[in-house]
Symmetry: C2
Subunit: 338 residues, 2 copies
């Protein structure tokens, strides 16, 4: 298996990427292709005790910066680590690409260098989030702020294929994020998407409010990229706000401080469930090639998880299955390939 | 001061409402008008030791049910406790109306019986939520799933007037919920609303992501009712999910169970900050009369808080100030009164 890792993606690049590549090699035995400025990466690799065969360094002199305008940069800069890494996937020299860099930049670069799967209207950022006792795939979480109903139907199909393959969930339940459970609730987009999902042939379980999503009522939840982003970032913010509040309150007097110390392992387990580094990276479903985006704050563990997630997608043939599913449904759904 | 309380609103009605009315009378000395089926309320009042002058019972034979279709019911049922209670405000016999009943039903009834303030395009459900060290008013949290930019500008103005008056926040900072802080981020609605808020004359602080909202970067945050509802319900769900997870992990072994007991007071304080019953009720800003909606799960404490919130709004002249602000801004903003 040939996984490409953007060495320049995470906030602390390239150190976490180099360590993650070495650990991934130790774990699975396949060398990782690390893309970035060759001299820098060689120098940093030599400072480790890792065997030379653990990584293959691919030279890319430029880096896509957070301050770059994604769409323009994707067109203009052809030698960023993202562009060079994705080209390897495009040319069949690698099976999947992973970056912890800017999401907008990665999506724009992916659209420009790999393009969409034939028939896909829009690709979607599709992270799996922790819910009660399980994981749920949510899309779109930010690539498309304004969406059309037929895009959401395609998100549902792509998400279902992904969960069925990579997460081994047969006949995955598909929900629609809404402001009320009943059919007929929602904004215009939700109201127009609901009947399309009902007749889509997918295992549609209807509108879901956030509490049902967190109770694990669906394997896949679709929404527009604006509401999805609000959902995702609100979840992160509330979790942080709450845990900080608990910590501050516990430290506010000696008895509860002692209590907090005794309950330390419990808090550690809660943090672990919430820790994005456990889940690695989100696929850009709909891109004609396997691309995964990790959080900018990704550490070594998060990047190794990302490699694991990417490997599962490669092994279970997610890309081919998505291509087939889209082709098979287009005629049935009355959508034309573009 | 004359406050009307819907006796039939909360899930456990009318017991919490009756107790809350009695406590509010004890605290502020003004009798509460309780609206509901007279015989039932009289009987329940007699079972208490409260003085007869604590409440004035206003007869309303019917109740707006959760299963009723709000708009149709608001038109058809003229003798529900909501309709009768709001009519008292309309006729100048009361200063404010409070209900813990169905939000959609209350909004529809309010629109039908009290109407909008002249010039207001749409009223908004406007709860104050707890953020780092403070409270922030958010609107719309559910009444208008699809919004236009000029509605959001009016929400901003009404929210600012409310926070300035009832919460004593001079020159309140107004933010716009978005999927990125930078100007230019957002969906179509946000992109079109941003320049209008910039030139509105309000203290506009720009786009805010959920983490900035929870860090207390604004006094008022505006958004469409769909995204707002997602924000609000995601916050509630994550808080519940997280606290349950912490509790379960703490109980999973004896040492952390002991720790949890010692840290009990800290958890109690966290719960208190998050407790909706501390904040009472959300005003329906834009309605031509003071109407407050509490959570269906409201208990006595929550309903007393609601009375407190309503009293503050009456005392600080929120309604008159909103009428004046809307009239003053309409010409300046190039909006016509309807």
């Amino acid at each position: 298996m040939r996984i490409v890792l953007d060495a320049m993606g995470s906030d602390m690049h390239p150190a976490p990427e180099i360590q993650a590549a070495i650990q991934a090699y130790d774990r699975w035995g396949d060398p990782i292709m690390l893309v970035g400025p060759e001299a820098l990466l060689k120098q940093q690799m030599q400072a480790t005790s890792a065997p030379a065969e653990a990584v293959t360094i691919i030279h890319a002199p430029d880096v896509l910066e957070m301050t770059d305008k994604p769409a323009e940069t994707a067109r203009g800069k052809t030698d960023t680590s993202m562009a060079v890494g994705m080209d390897l996937v495009k040319q069949g020299q690698a099976d999947a690409f992973i970056t912890a860099g800017n999401t907008g930049g990665a999506m724009a670069t992916a659209l420009f260098r790999l393009g969409r799967i034939r028939g896909v209207k829009r690709p979607a950022v599709s992270p799996a989030i922790p819910v009660q006792g399980s994981m749920t795939l949510m899309l779109d979480m930010g690539a498309n702020a304004d969406c059309r109903p037929e895009w959401l139907v395609q998100f549902a199909l792509m998400g279902a294929v992904y969960m069925e393959r990579a997460f081994d969930r047969p006949n995955p339940r598909v929900g629609l994020l809404s402001n009320g459970e009943e059919a007929g609730k929602g904004n215009q987009l939700v109201k127009e998407t609901f009947p399309l999902l009902e007749k889509s042939g997918l295992n549609f379980v209807g509108n879901l409010e956030p509490k049902e999503i967190y109770a694990g009522h669906a394997d896949v939840v679709v929404t527009d990229g604006f509401s999805g982003n609000v959902f995702l970032k609100t979840s992160e913010s509330v979790a942080r706000f709450l845990l900080e509040m608990v910590r501050d309150e516990i430290r506010s007097n000696p008895i509860s401080t002692l209590g907090g110390l005794l309950a330390k392992s419990a808090f550690a387990r809660v943090r672990q469930v919430l820790d994005p580094s456990e889940y690695g990276a989100a696929p850009l479903l709909g891109i004609d090639g396997l691309v995964f985006i990790g959080h900018g704050r990704s550490d070594v563990k998060a990047l190794v998880s990302a490699v694991r997630v990417a490997r599962q997608a490669v092994e279970t043939g997610v890309l081919e299955a998505t291509r087939e599913a889209i082709q098979g449904k287009l005629g049935q759904w009355g959508m034309a390939a573009e």
